[in-house]
């Protein structure tokens, strides 16, 4: 058994140590936000966060994860109460087919947690590993900028702070 801390909860998983995290999330734990795109770390649909860094879950064996904090798109909010990035993606209508979106959101989340005011160039460079086949990149970029603004506003003293 391998213990994984996902979205603040500990899960004991019975799987081969080299099983990719993506398969465990989807097949063992019914966390199906992260998607299988290429299985080669070339598209980003499977992106989650490990210790605050955007990570391709299709290439992360669970043996390297005990003791580390994993965050998936399910950890950012719910349908009723979406988190700021999820809200921004909805408001900008950034999804077309939607397959890449969970990965896009998680990669953006990793950026905004580290750098609340990224420049346009920083956003583009950071988002580079994730592909959207439908071509909604411009909307995705708008959503990331919008989320950065709402997150900054929420973080300013006096404003109501939302927990995520």
């Amino acid at each position: 058994m391998i213990e994984l801390n996902i979205n603040g909860r500990t899960h004991a998983v019975d799987a081969d140590p080299h099983t990719p995290l993506l398969y465990v999330l989807r097949d063992h734990l019914a966390l199906s936000g992260a998607k299988f795109g290429c299985g080669l770390g070339q598209c980003g649909a499977c992106t989650v966060m490990v210790d605050g860094q955007a990570t391709f879950s299709c290439l992360t064996p669970i043996s390297v994860l005990p003791g580390r904090r994993i965050k998936t798109v399910e950890g950012l909010g719910t349908i009723e109460q979406p988190g700021p990035l999820q809200r921004a993606f909805i408001d900008e209508q950034a999804a077309q087919c939607g397959y890449c979106i969970a990965g896009m959101i998680m990669r953006a989340q990793a950026l905004l947690e580290k750098n609340p005011s990224p420049s346009e160039a920083e956003i583009r460079r950071h988002m580079m590993p994730n592909l959207c086949r439908c071509g909604t990149h411009m909307r995705i970029l708008r959503a990331v900028r919008r989320a950065a603004e709402t997150m900054r506003a929420a973080a300013t003293p006096g404003a109501k702070r939302s927990e995520s």
Binding site: P17, G39, Q42, V50, D51, T55, L59, V64
Partner: protein
């Protein structure tokens, strides 16, 4: 007192004696730089190609900065030095420099005001260039857009921070003089030697340096370093399992990858990016010359290339070799890391038509004398320049802890080569990780 301190001390004394008498005056203070329109278009075009072979832009441009405007910090054992602005801006660049000033800088390492230049600017190589080639680069540089950009001050320790000290360094190590052809060799070989030793300054990275930062000419091209990467030996001591030939070197230099050796990465990536655009004959000449330097003596014949490739491929599928490497003492099993993180591309059989990585047993990074390049690639991955074609590998800096990276690269070394284990992986991983955090 160690050797370095003795050298530094004697250098300082020498400098104090010589200071003031060494700096050289302006060539001709009154001379003016030519008008931009006066340069011949064909000469400018020639200069553009030569500047690409010389990789001028890589050092003289900051990331996302204006081309040739300088300011890139270069860390040396003696402190941090910033590349200069070589755009034709009259005040902050070289807009007032005449062709003669420029030639003197390239051939003698002296700036327009007569100050000695730090040898981070590789005039110990550029001195081999013909005056005509230098003039073409001058024409190219002087017709770029002028950019007004002050360069930050260098932060160097004494005695290096004391500019006349360079005179002593030059007296010890600098051998000026244009390349002299070897009449017993072909014109192509001579062209290659001229470019490699001169303009392309391959030895600046590929030759080891001594305690005072000078290239050790007895080990010319014998393997050095660049920006915390290992720069492979380009001599008979090359670690490549399949010996390089002029043809495979040409493919590598021209396209940035070679199926039996690997992919140009780190500081070599911009070099091959530049060489993809220059005259084919010049790249061919470089390949011919370097291949000749790599020739092993007849007493040490290399294994037949096909046999080496077959054995490297076999190791990718051989479960027995996998089992023997599992025993490496480590909290995490490198074999499990490999199976989960690497094998979908680097395992048996191509994972998809678009993923055809070089067999790891053939790569120079896994066969190199130190693990730095393998660590860099595991942590950072391989990313083509934006808009350029090239191999793409994700980096694992976020996925893997230091201990896991060490377990993985020790496993790669044991499984895919017959070479002795690396002993310095822990320090190297730490060093490279720190550098990644300070220079994102």
């Amino acid at each position: 007192m160690n050797l370095r301190m003795i050298l530094a001390g004697s250098m300082l004394l020498g400098v104090l004696a010589l200071a003031g008498s060494i700096d050289r005056p302006l060539v001709a203070a009154a001379a003016e730089a030519p008008e931009r329109a006066s340069f011949d278009a064909a000469v400018v075009a020639k200069g553009a190609e030569l500047a690409a072979i010389g990789n001028c832009r890589s050092c003289h441009t900051q990331p996302e900065g204006a081309p040739f405007a300088g300011g890139l910090p270069l860390s040396t054992p003696f402190g941090t030095i910033h590349s200069t602005n070589i755009t034709p801006d009259p005040d902050t660049g070289i807009g007032r420099w005449t062709g003669e000033d420029f030639l003197r800088a390239m051939h003698e390492g002296v700036d327009r005001a007569g100050r000695h230049l730090y040898p981070a600017f590789p005039y110990d190589h550029f001195t081999r260039m013909s005056a005509q080639d230098v003039a073409a680069i001058y024409a190219f540089i002087m017709t770029r857009d002028p950019v007004r950009a002050e360069v930050p001050a260098n932060r160097l320790r004494l005695p290096a921070g004391f500019r006349p000290a360079i005179a002593v360094w030059k007296a010890l190590y600098f051998e000026p003089g244009v390349y002299r052809p070897d009449a017993s060799k072909s014109a192509t070989w001579n062209r290659g030697a001229y470019l490699v030793d001169g303009l392309a300054h391959c030895g600046a990275c590929h030759t080891p340096r001594n305690a005072l930062g000078a290239e050790n000419k007895r080990q010319d091209l014998g393997g050095g370093e660049a920006e915390r990467w290992h720069a492979s030996s380009l001599t008979e001591t090359s670690p490549a399992p399949v010996p390089w030939s002029a043809d495979t070197l040409y493919d590598y230099l021209r396209r940035g990858h070679e199926q039996r050796h690997g992919i140009a990465a780190g500081p070599m990536a911009p070099v091959v990016h530049n060489l993809s655009s220059v005259a084919e004959d010049d790249v061919r000449a470089i390949a011919v010359y370097v291949a000749s330097r790599m020739q092993r003596p007849p007493s040490a014949p290399a294994a037949a290339a096909d046999a080496v490739v077959a054995s490297a491929r076999e190791r990718e599928t051989d479960e027995a070799s996998r089992a023997t490497s599992r025993n490496a003492a480590s909290a995490v099993d490198g074999a499990d890391v490999f199976a989960g993180a690497c094998a979908s591309c680097h395992g048996a059989g191509p994972a998809s038509p678009s993923a055809a990585p070089v067999a790891l047993g053939l790569t120079t990074s896994v066969n190199a004398p130190d693990p730095r390049n393998a660590i860099h690639i595991v942590l950072e991955g391989l990313w083509p320049e934006p808009g350029a074609k090239g191999a793409l590998m994700p980096g694992f800096a976020g996925e893997l802890t230091d201990g896991q990276v060490i377990a993985l690269i020790d496993y790669l070394r044991a499984r895919f080569t017959n070479r002795p284990a690396w002993t310095d992986a822990p320090e190297r991983v730490k060093e490279i990780r720190q550098a990644m955090q300070s220079e994102p």
